[in-house]
């Protein structure tokens, strides 16, 4: 794996029922590239949470995954409502998910904390009314 590989996924608002297909696909690709199971698990967890957030909170968006020999960079960009208070959103248990989403097992308010926990770097750029871009790095 000398060259960097770029994967791009369009996340549609109904991805909910397709349940993390982009994350599953990345997982498969990383496995075939021989990336360690530990790093794969981190990427899979962080990306799935981000993917689901784009669907629940932002009507979908674009995910770009750059795989290089020493790290995996995930960029999740949406044109959703933005996050008014990042510090509050990052708190374990904080969620604005509606009830029908909760009844599916989501909305525990653990997504952003999980993304932080399972990545080596995470930055959130958000503009109210314009959208959110989350960049996550997992070192390998």
């Amino acid at each position: 794996m000398a060259e960097a590989i770029r994967l791009t996924y369009e996340i549609s608002p109904d991805d909910f029922t397709r349940a993390g297909e982009a994350s599953s696909d990345v997982k498969k690709k990383l496995r075939s590239l021989g990336v360690s199971p530990d790093a794969i698990r981190k990427v899979a967890i962080a990306m799935y949470e981000g993917e689901i957030n784009m669907v629940i909170h932002a009507e979908g968006g674009i995910i770009t995954v750059d795989i290089s020999p020493d790290k995996i960079v995930m960029i999740l960009a949406d044109k959703g409502p933005g996050i008014p208070d990042i510090e509050q959103a990052m708190q374990a248990g904080w969620s604005t998910a509606p009830n029908e989403i909760r009844s599916l097992g989501f909305g525990a308010g653990m997504g952003l904390p999980n993304m932080k926990k399972y990545t080596d770097e995470m930055t959130i750029d958000t503009v109210i009314g314009k959208g959110t871009t989350i960049t996550m790095v997992v070192k390998i």
Partner: protein, 111 residues
Amino acid sequence: MKVQDLIDKQIFRVISEGDDTSRDITGVFCCDLLSIAMGKAPADSAWVTVMGNINTIAVATLADVSCVIMAEGVVLDEVARTKAAQQGVTVLATEEPVFDAALKIYQEIHG
């Protein structure tokens, strides 16, 4: 204990056999909230839940658990069942409550 060993005990019904029953089961994890399961379920654990939709299968795959056990007689819906077959996830089921199901697995692991 391997997934196959747990299947062979016939404590649980087999809903989806999965494509790697030679995997180890090294622990048990119980929770229905998907993000908590995602963040806390150890890799190679048996995950006991009553949440039977397609996202359960996605979380099982991505968090890399060895198998899923549906407790309380909860059924895996049709889409989720198809997804489990596609992704090769082992799914078992029981009428028992979550705790009792988990305890049985724990006892099998720890002899």
